[in-house]
Symmetry: D3
Subunit: 228 residues, 6 copies
């Protein structure tokens, strides 16, 4: 159940019996051969699925994240972290004002981690607000599946190659992970190092594995949405 299918009285009715909300954040950035919106599509698909099972509302996704290091790849659109934190703060304050109290931020992009600090700051200020944060690729369940199949999760490799994030043919041969000289790189260096944009490893795996990953993340989210 997304905002776009509802009008304001629907939200008012919802708030009479529930105060939970899912907010999807992610990125518009290079994902190698995959969709530029991969980091939105995955958490949004998870949120939609979790919404169907739990009835928890899904706010419109914030389509842009912090991706300064990928700006030399055309198609990457990056917010400064300061902008991103202000944007998330404004969303949280808007819905808090209307009665939402338990909010799960469903994050699809590693570069957005700094936003958590703003969430901490807001938690100190807004009484009774319960915020949570879920990054599906950091799930223990996801890690276990990768380990079981001897697969290494990385940006824009098999890990993110769901049917719904593919927009072109994927290479059949795996990519050797490049050497990374420093922990902080300019966008120009990043492109030089990563070439096609994948961080290396297999580009795709069996659909069954992808289903398992999706389902384990979905189970995580349903558990988290209990706010127990």
């Amino acid at each position: 159940m997304r905002y776009e299918e509802l009008n304001w009285t629907d939200i008012e009715t919802y708030l009479q019996s529930d105060d939970r909300l899912m907010l999807v954040i992610g990125a518009t950035e290079q994902h190698g051969h995959l969709s530029l919106l991969t980091d939105i599509k995955i958490p949004l698909a998870l949120a939609d699925a979790a919404s169907r099972q739990s009835g928890v509302l899904v706010a419109p996704p914030l389509n842009f994240g912090a991706s300064p290091y990928f700006l030399s790849y055309p198609g990457t659109i990056s917010f400064r972290l300061s902008t991103l934190m202000d944007a998330v703060e404004d969303i949280i304050r808007s819905v808090y004002r209307q009665g939402f109290r338990r909010i799960l931020v469903v994050n699809g992009h590693g570069g957005n981690a700094g936003v958590r600090t703003r969430l901490d700051e807001l938690s100190n200020e807004l009484p009774d607000l319960q915020l949570n944060w879920y990054a599906w690729w950091q799930s223990h369940g996801v890690e276990a599946i990768a380990l079981e199949h001897n697969l290494k999760p990385a940006h824009a490799n098999w890990l993110e190659a769901f049917a719904f994030t593919q927009v072109s043919e994927l290479p059949s041969e795996p990519k050797a992970p490049p050497y990374v000289p420093r922990a902080v790189l300019s966008a120009a260096e990043t492109r030089q190092i990563y070439g096609d944009g994948s961080f290396g490893g297999a580009y795709q795996v069996d659909a069954k594995i992808m289903d398992d990953i999706f389902n384990v993340a979905l189970r995580d989210m349903l558990e988290i949405l209990k706010f127990a």
Copy 2:
């Protein structure tokens, strides 16, 4: 052609022959009986249609605008104008860096008008950037159609009641426009004055009129996209 269907190499290829882009901005806010995303759905539908005919790319929509006056209606999510300007600036700078030079901001929400000042500021700073702005409801063609049918355009009345923005039954009887005591109102006053959220007039009109409105706005956009 939206970013979500493409990967970064598609954008790189596109930029070899074109430097135009459409950026959809709007709002998540009360629209009376219509979808909370009405101000995104309309400009996005127009941008998609214009893209099909012109081949110009459509960036992911920025789903949130400046709607402080509607915050007492549940479902309204408002950015501070400062946040909104920063967000649009970051988007423009990202795509400018990659070679886009002619950018049409397709705006769906009247409250976003202040963003134009930031666009002016950016135009002074970024060489060869050509920005344009289109607000479909201010089109002379749209006004002419309204006049022809003796209809008054207003927020959340027939003007925005396209098939794709309707999420519930619409009242069959028109609403008397309320008395508005001042030009600046708090969110609480706004809700008290506007009740169901529509600014008054007919809630719906014949589908043929809506088609005419859509088409005249689409023609505007195709003309504007020539950047002549």
Copy 3:
């Protein structure tokens, strides 16, 4: 009655019987052949006149507005919109703290419109604050006078050529409005297009028309100052 003629005990006395205030904002920017302070002089003259008849106080004018598009004309001094919003906010908060509750922002410059969003935001935060906004050239009465005389109002044409804004001879022949290719222009493009700075039409009209315009705007303001 302006702040400059008063000391703080005068304001304290005033606040015992009234809580209204006029705040003049405008611009220092090119106005063709007219004074660079045209957008301050007009609203300030109106505020002074309204003050004489209503007794409502006039705060010192904020002499600078948002005029990025005119920066290639020497003499234009422009605030970023973010600065302008902060400035107006600080003024409102200062006077609110001391007891003013009904504040009319008398705006002389179209480029300042984004400030209204900050006023909306403040209205949500400060209890019992009643803000209003008046832009004289958008008055229905002013439009009616222009229509009656078959005159088109525009920046730096006859509309703003009051006796007190003239600082040099005005051309006797009207100017053909130039072709404007886009809605967002850099300052350099703006100067190239507009040449002497007027947006076209007659440079001056009969003093009687100007008096009528001033008086109709003044009547608007006196009505608005009732805060009814």
Copy 4:
């Protein structure tokens, strides 16, 4: 020669033979029995006088300064220092862009001193910009006159009681300077301590002394305007 008496072509002409400008900043704040605009009126009178003798242009005054400590006195309107610095920066950047290179900031208010740091920052960024700062009451000449007459200069005492800043009768007896417990006070404490707002000493002195003070400050400014 003030901006308000000129149009943009006058400024363009001026810039062909000179690149100097005076910018008046000050405050709208309690000045005891004197005008709320005392800190604008004095530097503006000095700038006007200096302009008459030197031909150097005077920009419109920025009517608001940083006066947080006086906010409990009605009539005080204070900018946050961050707003004030942004405002002055925007003014400097605007005029720099148009060719001004030697700019004297004529400051009328002690609380604005932090602005100098922003001026330092701008000096590091804008090539060939020469900024200067003049605070008349810190002039050695002014101090000498005070010493000669055994008078102690202080906020809102005789020092600022020029004919043109007086808006009411002034007490004939001097005020004993109050005890000030700390260097940082809230606005409420400040009002409690300072009562009528003067910092103590004589409220007025012979007009001849005031003339001498004005003239010695004027001589300072004429010397500074040589930018030698």
Copy 5:
């Protein structure tokens, strides 16, 4: 070699043969029984040791980090992340201007991770700047030592209990890690959950282990300082 032992000509001399710098950031925050400055003391000790062996300069430490979640523990002093990013940016820009090009940020506090995004942004803007980031507790070598001794690293447990961070007796019995209900907690919840501030496990271990940990981190840093 720290800045405090040097004057500016020493830095100028240094820059003639080297352009490397270490910048220590961390936190002033509760560390259970350990010093409030633990997150500064550890990276500073490492930087000093690395400086002795490599000759690379050490800038003064920034003593405050982002610790909003610990604010209910007296002694925690937290910067907003926006402040922290601005502070680090100002430091980087200052030293870049003077010729430093290879800068290692030695971070002592997990909550500072968002700063990396600002470093990415700066890397895109400042040519030839090479930034790196080291967080000693995330070192593979440190993890290996912990694993070898079957110890779990956590905030304010044995991991940070070096001789030089101890300011009081440490409990001899380990602490059971508490249950943490959500990923985002207010400061009040955090204190309720964590009690004495340690995240659980042993409070102290054999000094030999601590030496090994220090030395493995030092070796990391010496390797990183080669900027190879």
Copy 6:
């Protein structure tokens, strides 16, 4: 008694009987032949001494101040004033939240004066907060000692040449104060004018004088710390 020697329970205990705190701010900037940290070392030495006699806690020093004019001297690290004000605000808010109410900011650097305005703003907002500010070199006692010995205090001359700020030999002959053309200088001009960085006069004086200066400043601080 500094934070670094304490853990959070020590602060909690302290707050049960006292609510005073000293916060040291200063600069990392060129000081001629003296240490780059001179403006931290002096106020910190004074704070430590005052702490020993009064028992008042000393927060960790903020090692960076506003020194834009010295940025052409290697070793100077400058915060924008906006950053510095935010940093000091965050520190004050953190400790206020935990119960500190009487806070003495011990400032070692003239360029930080703008921070006082932010302190004023905070005083208006935080109930019962008593802030004070001490700049040792502006002490009447210090001035009296200088006068007594016919010495002129200035940046990086004898005035700051304590034993603990010296890091190299000091010239034996005094320096002639250079001619300073304007009150606002770029960093490049500043270096050109001041050469070795001292503002002129004797580089060193008898240790007895320095002891007297230290002691008179210490007495000031002990008096101020009574917050009487």
